[in-house]
């Protein structure tokens, strides 16, 4: 069986989750067509790279991402967003299979260029919209495809967190346009709910956004008197018209007290409704209007079990539950399958480009109020 030497760039929060996942993936999924070999781990902070490599079984560590890319078959990019594009371009140019964290680049154009390169080179690629891997999100899609719910009627989704809720939380690179890109909450969180919206409801025909910076200045560092201007939005909403004619709304916020991982959606269909919240990701609320007896109709709290995608790879027993790190293991498994099949994971770079353009259109239509048609198309085709 093919052994895929993984090069992981970034040993921070999500880099570590990838390292654990790469280590766990073949042990968890017994039926994969390839083996993930933890080969090289890179971080600008070499000590960090060395330490995490030792801990998680990577053969080598380096501070030089080029070197890491070169010595790998597959590259995972888990560094801050402004470096994604350059590293990705290099990896693709060498034909390395690529799993890039979201957001892929600082702009839709950057994403699209990468997608085009990958397609031209026939290079397998995937993007870390991790929640599409949650079994209950995948199950939502399966239920929809089964026809049990009828066609979608309207969609609401959001991703709320509170990591910047405190007005005195200090300035970070995420608030700096040159580093994080033009998008704030949208780029960090909103893209997740947009990935789910597209996954369930399909292409977007029109969008109208509204965004605000709630806390316009923040201390340059914890407790500092000096303030720095925040450069991207704390909150955004958008109305959506899907191509299918289905209307939708999404919201995203990084200043929402009490919401820790509140990526949630409600998909209303003709004959039923689905509700999901990542704070309880082992559950799906399902309403099925399946008969005349209103005495026993109601939203069902469905607990995860082996009838839901990928769960059985972890556990045979219902309701025992997965954690966030398990989603990364599922993500790496999907990546391995795509590599072996010579294709891409959905969502791939092209999908990331569409999502990035959606985010930009939300901001554009917030700045110049109004609807934008065909926001997913590259500007030339809109």
């Amino acid at each position: 069986m093919a052994r895929i030497r993984f090069g992981l760039i970034g040993a921070g929060f999500i880099g570590r989750a990838h390292a654990l996942a790469i280590r766990a993936v073949n042990a968890t999924f017994g039926d994969l067509p390839a083996i993930a070999e933890p080969h090289v781990l890179c971080d600008a902070d070499l000590d960090k790279a060395v330490r995490l490599a030792a801990q998680t079984g990577f053969a080598r560590a380096t501070a030089d991402w080029r070197e890491a890319v070169e010595m790998s078959d597959a590259v995972v990019i888990a560094v801050p967003s402004q470096f994604h594009a350059e590293i990705a371009a290099y990896a693709l140019s060498l034909g390395k299979a690529l799993l890039c964290e979201k957001p892929v680049g600082l702009s839709g154009a950057e994403c699209q260029a990468l997608a085009d390169t990958a397609e031209a080179g026939g290079v397998s690629n995937a993007v870390g919209f991790t929640y599409l891997r949650a079994p209950m999100v995948a199950h939502a899609r399966n239920l929809l495809d089964s026809g049990a719910l009828g066609r979608p009627v309207h969609f609401y989704g959001r991703h709320f967190e509170d990591y910047l809720a405190s007005p005195t939380a200090p300035f970070t690179w995420r608030l700096d346009r040159r580093v994080a890109g033009r998008c704030g909450a949208l780029g960090d969180l909103g893209c997740h709910i947009l990935s789910i919206a597209r996954f369930l409801c399909g292409p977007v025909a029109g969008v109208a956004g509204n965004s605000v910076i709630v806390h316009r200045e923040r201390p340059v560092s914890p407790g500092a008197v000096e303030l720095r201007t925040v450069e991207n939005e704390d909150y955004a909403s958008a109305q959506i018209r899907f191509e299918s004619g289905v209307p939708g709304v999404i919201e995203t916020s990084r200043v929402a007290p009490g919401r820790k991982m509140d990526l949630a959606f409600e998909l209303t269909c003709e004959r039923g409704t689905l509700r999901f919240d990542a704070e309880r990701m082992n559950e799906l609320q399902v309403y099925l209007q399946d008969g005349a007896d209103n005495g026993v109709q109601g939203f069902r709290r469905v607990l995860i079990n082996s009838d839901h995608p990928d769960y059985a790879a972890f556990l045979p027993a219902p309701g025992h539950g997965l954690g966030f790190n398990d989603l990364k293991t599922i993500e790496i498994a999907a990546f391995l399958r795509a590599i072996a099949a010579g294709g891409n994971v959905y969502p791939d770079l092209a999908e990331a480009a569409r999502i990035a353009r959606l985010c930009e259109a939300i901001l554009d239509s917030s700045e110049n109020p109004g609807w934008i048609d065909n926001p997913e198309l590259p500007p030339s085709k809109q």
Copy 2:
């Protein structure tokens, strides 16, 4: 149509709820066989009686309960528990239909004597185990009777509140055996969950109790230094063997922080399960194992609607909900129907006697640890 002149004894918390219910009952239920006429309202505190009578449309007010009984066709007793038996005996002796608040007397023997008198005299009677009137509790029984759940397998119920949770909450009459009777939490709260247990699972063949006084002394009044010994239990549990062979557990507590009206049960059956909590009394959680597809099985949050008993009398629209006072209106409606039919409401005095004996058996078996057989039977027949 017969007009039933109501005499209401007690103008406190629950007396007031009865006054509102008597006033509302025929306006709410259009199809009753008799009319409740708010005739005389009695309270030892005459001012209170006069005020509430004026407010709620009672024709007269008095401080003399004998007078109130004499001038009425139907009597509602809503005074502190130690007065119930004497007033009830008088009402029954005059053949007045009787709705007595729980607990009916200070002992099972007192209750039984009243039940016997009522039966001998053929006097319609009812007891204020109000939660049997909750549409979702009645619906639970209907679901069970329908066979959809299969036979009961085990039962858990509790009634927890926190009105005495604070160790410095002062002594009240409820803690005084001569006034409130031997039972503490059991007499005040536990009898409600026992009434539901019997309603759903039938007669009790054996019981083993365990009770404690958590806070053994309390200030004689708010803030006082002087302490008085608490004379009945703050918490009790019991294991139950129903005659059907079904096992059960109940608990009751008046010292449970955070529980406000936490009368709750779980009825586990062969093919399904029901969960109810009076803090959300407009919902019933229903699990039905109704097919092979585990992908969509789960507890259903069923919201109240006109397929549930008595709801349609209040509202045609689903999910709008009833409040506690509406349950009292349903109770008075059932009482009127029983009077017109010349029968009793379930639960009646005989049922209250069974429940009272159950409470006593729980305390007996707590004092002399072990099981008591046939605890519902009068002592002579055990």
Copy 3:
């Protein structure tokens, strides 16, 4: 004390709720400055009027609304929406205090004309946005005013029901523009969530809507083959910019399977968040970021108790809960107080006009996509 003779026009679903409330209000609220006298009940269907009058204690019944208006001191309008304006105008012209159900007229202009008449005549008035009377909604506002939450940051609200979810549900007057007005779900449901949005977040500076008719044709009657075109929206969303700068989103739907009374909001503030859902109207979810210990921070499920507005008038005991009909009793109490004080209830006719214009602006901006500024102002002032 003044006795206010009530004339109630309409004996349907909500007319009946008003009749019960008029009957209950002084019995429930002991401290009102006036007495509601159930005087005349009118319905085009005279039998219905006679029956409900008899049941709920109204002295007279009539099929002629003019007569009913003339013989009353205060008029409650609870007939289908297309009759509101004419009856209201007549009542105001005679100086009768007016409580009109929502929506007040078929257009903002109709509402405004009525508001102007009322103001000119100094006639007390109120509008049936009943959920502003829910104790937990009122409490939300009080919490906000107390400063405990900091200033609002963003708002999301919706009103979803499923009464037209089935594609084969037949055509009704609500779908007919001439009868129900131009607004569909917005006029029936959306106006409730808009009334809450304004109550909590203040005036609206801009709005952008999106609406769809999901089921474009319906059988003319149950089971009919003949179809009729639906004339107003099944679903609408809107993005909002409040004058304060706070952004918001609202949605409304009458085709949302599983939602029975799903009027819900989330008010995100600087230091806390509130969540409410009318399906559990006796609860408010409250998050307060009130200290450093993250080990015990979380959304609190606050159960209704006597610290919440108006609850104590019904019950002294916490968590026992109110039902929808109780909200109407609170509404009538507020109306009586306003009459006695010679003022209006909030929300009054002027408020209803603002809400009606908001609804129209949502539809306008859905038809001609884009934002509308100052949508609450009469067209002349926009």
Copy 4:
């Protein structure tokens, strides 16, 4: 740093979870005093052992547990319960550190003998009461120890599942006394809630049980006509008197439709209450009576974050959640620390013996109804 060669016996459901945990533990916990080396994996089914060993990185595979024990430093026993005692005795006799799955033996006496051997030999040991490792259960204990809740007042706990809810589910070894031991649901599930009860409330002074076999016969195999008699209980309840005087109740069932991993407790204390359910193991419901303002008091849904034990080893971000397999990783980490420190993990073999005796006492007191004092003590000392 010491490398501990692990021998894992059993490659079934829970054996696999251990294999993944052994593989993950040092990668997850960076600060452990020893390294877990996946050395030898044993299963009676050699193919299974070989396959899982290959998948999860164990150096060797064998079908002979003696061999596996001999070549290891630490032994994990994850085979069916009837083999635990013999394997454990052998491992202890060779001084191998031991992590044994629950239940440790088929009787309290077997457990105690092992505990005595381990103590005599000074051998580090641990038992797989995995839910004591759940961060929110550990946090519950920390909150209690902090004094924030006051002293415990009463305890309720249960472990309900539905794997045998169907009356036609076939006979398995778990229903056979010779293989599974005398305990049914108690041995499989009830021991978990007893481990939590003791962890939070301390030693048990008295117990009174009640158990039933709900489905007395089952098909010998799926769909078979031939039936076999079930030999141990489907459901048991017990009343408990803790040494502290605190009363408690526990229940356990393997025939409870809809409950998948419903290991739940409510710990009521003087000034607060904790609620936990393993079906939502990333949450703890916390009520704190912490002030006068009843307007904002309620149960708080606390989401897991880095202030809760062991969570930070997996993730820095709050609310992202752990899964069941992560609990096994925490268990192995605790085992490694105990080995390095030369001590035991709580719960150890001595604790398992106490729990086993509790289970037996529950059955004894169910067969001979009444209370049993000092049920945790070895029979000689009761």
